[in-house]
Subunit: 250 residues, 2 copies
DNA sequence: CGCTTACTTGAGTCTGGTCAAACGGGGTGG
DNA sequence: CCACCCCGTTTGACCAGACTCAAGTAAGCG
């Protein structure tokens, strides 16, 4: 049950907000010049996190809030005896640490699945944002509500879908989200991650994934899962993907 | 699989914000006079919903947002074939319909478990709130983040807890939330609701609840579940209840 | 009194869990 | 260069927790 600790470093700012790698993507909305100026000052630095390293740990209360610029991570919780549940995955445009930023301390941990680059904001200045840029404040709430929707979907999955439906749903969603962000069609995940997301054992997860492979819907490779047919997966899961557009981000 | 449709009526305003039944509870924070004035104007009416009636339906896009004043409801989603998953319960102080208010349409339904009284706000005026009362805007985000935390816990439960742990966790949380709001120590729930929350079959839920009864932790009565020992349930679940204080609400 | 709703209980089945072992690729130290 | 090890994946055999089907009970109601 070894979980690496890797590197976690704050380097120089390589991406000023004016060159934010998110803005070109059609998934995301535009900023007004005014907002852009504010956000530029709001940003305090960048954080790089290696695969397997921890971004935020349960119980800690970070002074920062992050926006994912690159890479993929996952949020998870542990039970006393080590059972792990992955709650959701975070991708470019998602906020990390909002819960601790607002309520106090983190009730979950975040770990990088693929090398991540995060934009750092100071939690202290959040109220300033709320006071002076209600549009951005609105966006933050929007993002929180969107996360809530995803969690709702995940709960439906865990509670009422069969193993193969769950797996199909998970991979379809991940592939879609990666695709929307212009990423390669390879989900950098191990079967242990899938198991901990779906609430299944590793062995049964493996058999379930093989079943999906045999139906030509996915291929398992070194380094992750290649999705051949998002629509096919969605059909297995009984789920209808909806393309997301003009999503806000900060 | 019959699910009643009941009554859903908008009556006169019985509780002006100055006499809001939530404010006396220690769980909730105080308003500033300024905020109180604004919220009073923000409130557009009250909505009464019978037990079993629908507050909001999946797919609809309501022009309103609600705060629960009295009663208990639950949010749920359905799969094509009728499988139902209860996502969470809403209680006094919780916001209902925020997702549709921000993002567009509801991705889940809300039904009353015990007769509900809700405070009605217009979605249109939300941006006004964000512009002029950043404190309240902050609170709304706080509430959304808190809901996220609860969903995280529920996911952990569904994914990694055993049947009896899940049941104990659910009942402990519900009892605690009801208690904090000054309610009677009786959860007005049927075993079918419990089953649909825990992702279990009705039969297995029944056996699991009997096990909790035999351990003297709960008693099942006509009308719901009486919790004898929240701490005991929490211990079974491997969960630590944390008392919530000064929770914001709108 | 018959009907419905909610809870119980029994019996047999099956999905998914556990234990155990093996395989294959990549890295490392001898 | 090879032996060894580690990690992630794969497979088999067996077990158990949870599901389904079926039937029965008890309380509430028109």
């Amino acid at each position: 049950m070894e979980r690496g600790n890797g590197t976690r470093s704050t380097g120089t700012v390589r991406y000023p907000c004016t060159k934010c790698p998110l803005r070109p993507l059609t998934t995301f909305r535009e900023f007004t010049p005014d907002e852009l100026t504010f956000v530029s000052r709001f940003k305090r630095g960048e954080l790089t996190v290696d695969r397997g390293a921890t971004v935020l740990a349960e119980g800690s209360s970070s002074a920062h809030i992050y926006t994912v610029l690159k890479g993929i991570g996952f949020r998870y919780k542990l039970l006393e005896d080590g059972r792990r549940q992955i709650l959701n995955f975070v991708m470019p445009g998602d906020l990390v640490g909002l819960q601790s930023g607002l309520i106090g301390d983190m009730q979950h941990s975040v770990e990088a699945l693929a090398p991540m680059l995060l934009c750092v904001f100071e939690r202290e200045r959040l109220s300033e944002l709320y006071r002076n840029h209600s549009g951005l404040a609105f966006d933050i709430t929007w993002i929180a509500a969107r996360e809530e929707q995803m969690l709702d979907e995940n709960l439906l999955s865990l509670g009422r879908r069969t193993a193969i439906e769950r797996a199909a749903y998970l991979l379809a969603v991940l592939a879609k989200r990666i695709e929307e962000r212009g990423g390669a069609p390879l989900i950098p995940i191990t079967q242990q991650h899938v198991a901990d997301t779906l609430g299944l054992s590793l062995v049964h997860t493996n058999r379930t994934l093989r079943a999906l492979s045999q139906r030509q819907l996915i291929q398992w490779r070194e380094g992750g899962c290649a999705v051949n047919d998002i629509g096919g997966l969605a059909r297995v899961a009984g789920w209808e993907p909806v393309k997301e557009k003009n999503r806000p981000f900060v």
